[in-house]
């Protein structure tokens, strides 16, 4: 295991991509970044630009307007980067799977590394998912 990968695992900078979400998952992500849950313990910091990001936290069904934007944000993120699909909608479509605006769950558009189901997932669940993922990669 090399040093750079080890460093990447210790310092994940997240960027929040909201691709047509109903706002519930977004509120849970905001909760996640508050002092109560303190994700800076794991080196996780919210950044403002996809150029600085290592992790894209994507929420929502990707609707037809969002497809181009999500692809653009993914291409602007410097690699290696991790894509996390948060919530039932981003994982599989959820209750909106038959909606007229549905352009796919997230993994039809960009490669997804971590799926965190839940409608919405609790901040604890998001932390647990990301920590499990960090243990898996070598």
């Amino acid at each position: 295991m090399n040093l750079k990968l080890k460093a990447l695992k210790k310092s994940l900078w997240v960027y929040h991509v909201s691709a047509g979400s109903c706002n519930n998952c977004d509120i849970e992500i905001l909760d996640l970044l508050t002092p109560r849950f303190d994700v800076e313990r794991f080196g996780i910091v919210l950044v403002g630009s996809p150029r600085h990001a290592d992790v894209l936290l994507c929420t929502g069904i990707v609707n037809k307007k969002c497809v181009e934007r999500v692809k653009e944000v993914y291409e602007q993120t410097p690699k290696p980067c991790v894509v996390v699909a948060i919530g039932a909608c981003a994982c599989s479509g959820g209750i909106f799977r038959d909606g007229y605006q549905m352009a796919g769950p997230l993994n039809k558009i960009i490669p997804v590394d971590v799926y965190i189901p839940g409608c919405p997932p609790k901040p604890e669940a998001i932390i647990a998912g990301i920590v499990k993922f960090l243990k898996e990669i070598k």
Binding site: L3, K4, L5, K6, A7, L8, K10, S11, P35, D38, E40, R41, G43, L46, V47, G48, S49, R51, H52, D54, Q76, P78, K79, P80
Partner: protein, 309 residues
Amino acid sequence: MNVIYSFWYFVLSFIFLSVIGLFVSWIDRKITARIQWRVGPPWYQSFADIIKLSGKEVLVPEGSNRFTFIFSPILSVIASTICGTMLLLVLRKNFGFGGDLILFIYLLTIPSLSIILGGSSSGNVLASVGISRELKLLLSYELPFICAIIIPAIKANFTTSLIEIFQYQNLNGSNIFSLSGIIGFIIILIASTGKLGVVPFDLAEAETEIAGGALIEYSGILLGFYKLAKSILLFVVPLFIVILYLGGTPIIGFGSLLIFILKYLVVLILITLIRNTNPRLRIDQSLRFFWGWLTLIGILGILISLSGV
């Protein structure tokens, strides 16, 4: 021979300054976390950030000026390292020359200027908002900053040499134990938060408004250079304040070195406390604050120090 020696001195002090600067920026983050009742990042956090950034892809946006875009982060690291090396030479070898205080003021503006240069070469709209704020902030905090630098220079018999200011305090006690010293210390403490770009005056890279500001297009090791320069400045600027205002114990032996580090930590913690207890100001508010009250009090401090109190 002399050139080779100074080159290696520069390289060694770069390594020393980056290690200690990253460690100091961890102290800053940890204190912030403790104030917010959090656990905070582990001690290797800043090192992990820089190593991670060195392993990431570097994206140069289309339509940017490629040379300036790549050169300006390197310029900011070099300038902040030269600042740190000058202070280390003053402390370790008692080396200085007449007018190095003025040179130091110039060198301290170069990291801000390189952020402006890099942001404007990236061709991003939000970056241009960020650099316009950074430029106005640079103009506004420089005035009280220089006022506060003039006060110890006057007290040490109108000198422009860092080493003479430091040695004057060895003979006559710290500058802070006088009326004009207290005024100058408070002013330089507030102005240095603008210099470091920490929270009350971090509007140039306000993440929530303009998404990283001038640094929005930077990725990979180039962003790492900016972070490194910022960490080195976080070490250099409080050290500069200690030399100007909190001197008085010459560094001979281990005990006085510990006292010196303690003084440095006090200044660092004061800056961290300012950054944690204040909201971000708008650019017009900070301009009015710096050019209004702070400069007036600074000029008052200069007059008081001219009268010898």
